[in-house]
Point group: D2
Chain length 150, copies 4
């Protein structure tokens, strides 16, 4: 099984940084959503595109928040961890931790995604197998001693 928490490893690209020589604010939401996208493919077992094309579903975000703790610099390596904190009828609540190589938290986020009917763009109960996998992942997160505070 996937190791928990699911962790995306990245290197800051030149084009993601600004004249202050640090990652531009809005790019952190790209990092955060892209980590959840990769998590979804791995844990739920289907990518967002097939989710729409084959199942007529979508997984958009209802909420996003980010706290910026320390800057990230061009060419710096960092990781983005995806923790599941809650699983609801249609919604999944994520905690996201971005760390530099010294393991310091550089940014910290929360995302809430919702399973929708793609055609109607309306929330709906998530499929049972999705819930089973996401709930198993949440429990694996909760079992870790280092689970981040909600």
């Amino acid at each position: 099984m996937t190791s928990v928490p699911f962790t995306m490893r990245r290197t800051v690209k030149w084009g993601e940084t600004d004249p202050a020589g640090i990652v531009y604010t809005a790019r952190f939401l790209d990092y955060t959503v892209e980590a959840v996208e990769a998590w979804f493919t791995e844990i739920v077992g289907i990518d967002w595109y097939r989710l729409k094309a084959e199942m007529g579903l979508g997984s958009p975000m209802a909420h996003a928040s980010l706290d910026f703790r320390k800057p990230l610099f061009p060419a710096e390596e960092f990781t983005v961890e995806v923790w599941v904190m809650e699983v609801g009828r249609a919604a999944t609540t994520f905690k996201i931790l971005g760390r530099n190589l010294a393991r310091e938290i550089c940014f910290e986020g929360k995302l809430v995604s919702v399973i929708i009917d793609a055609e109607r763009i309306k929330a709906r109960t998530m499929p049972d197998d999705f819930r089973a996998r996401i709930e198993a992942y949440r429990q694996a997160c909760a079992a870790l001693e280092t689970t981040p505070p909600a």
Copy 2:
């Protein structure tokens, strides 16, 4: 004087939207930060680049949050309003409202920016003239009957 709230008018670009045919999640933080950037230039009276080059200061974000209420579609026109809710020693707290042409709120955000010493990347008391302009703007926001809830 600038009309209050400061409002940026935009049209959704094709490249900002995803295969679901709606604006991609992370682009909303671009919209939000770009609105505050334009607000800063107009209200504080200096753009972020000259702020760094001429004054050795920066105005990065410490926090961002977004609630997604209704989707925006390619080629759709929308507006982004910038409201100032609080002015602190170094920090300014913004409320951001994104509306479609029917004036429905499509997204709603909060940003907290901090004036920093650009070299040391450390918060510092904002210059008095910045505070005066931002505080005047905040009061103009507060005076409106339609001020959004904090």
Copy 3:
């Protein structure tokens, strides 16, 4: 009628620039394609989203090239001109000129777009009314004394 050449006016955003303090290379293709997108809506009379949703067509690019002449800086105002150089069975060839406020050419590009059947992603003859409008625009470009060299 639209004045010729169709011209998009922009201001360089902080997030479009890099640690060298100038617009990041890849953003110039965003500027270029976005100018052609806006041109298409205005001249052909339908936006790319309705083009797909209502007509089952698309207008992707087959080719793009860019020459970078002078840097653009954060907060700098510039314009992007869209010239049509050739109209084929399915293809339209554009010349793009990016100028700073001193009217110096900062970047110069060429785009070739192709009308496709959106479902099959295959080129097809463009509708007659599209051709009529694009050809009229091309002639208006050619009639200008200042037409850029092909």
Copy 4:
């Protein structure tokens, strides 16, 4: 030594694709420049940020061109190959090949980068050790039977 050609492996992200369900035109220039950025760090031995901070140099692009052969879809894996075709006094000419997993060429590009004095934003002769490494890489490319046509 690095295997030749230097090859970046990627997966198309949801946010890089558009309502046509394929990668958005402008993102291909991001892919192309990011591949050259990674190549530079590995082959020249210094990243673009340290290049500026420690050596006072830059490596911006003077030219970019792209031909789009086949679409890339969300979640599709692909590779970007970086070939060096020419090394001049200040300039390096790259051929870029983007391939899907079936090894079909999806996009093909050319980039010309120039070593500049970062402060003056003017071209200058590249350092000898840069040239030695880039020229060795070019020869390794040329020695391959499968070298792409210039």
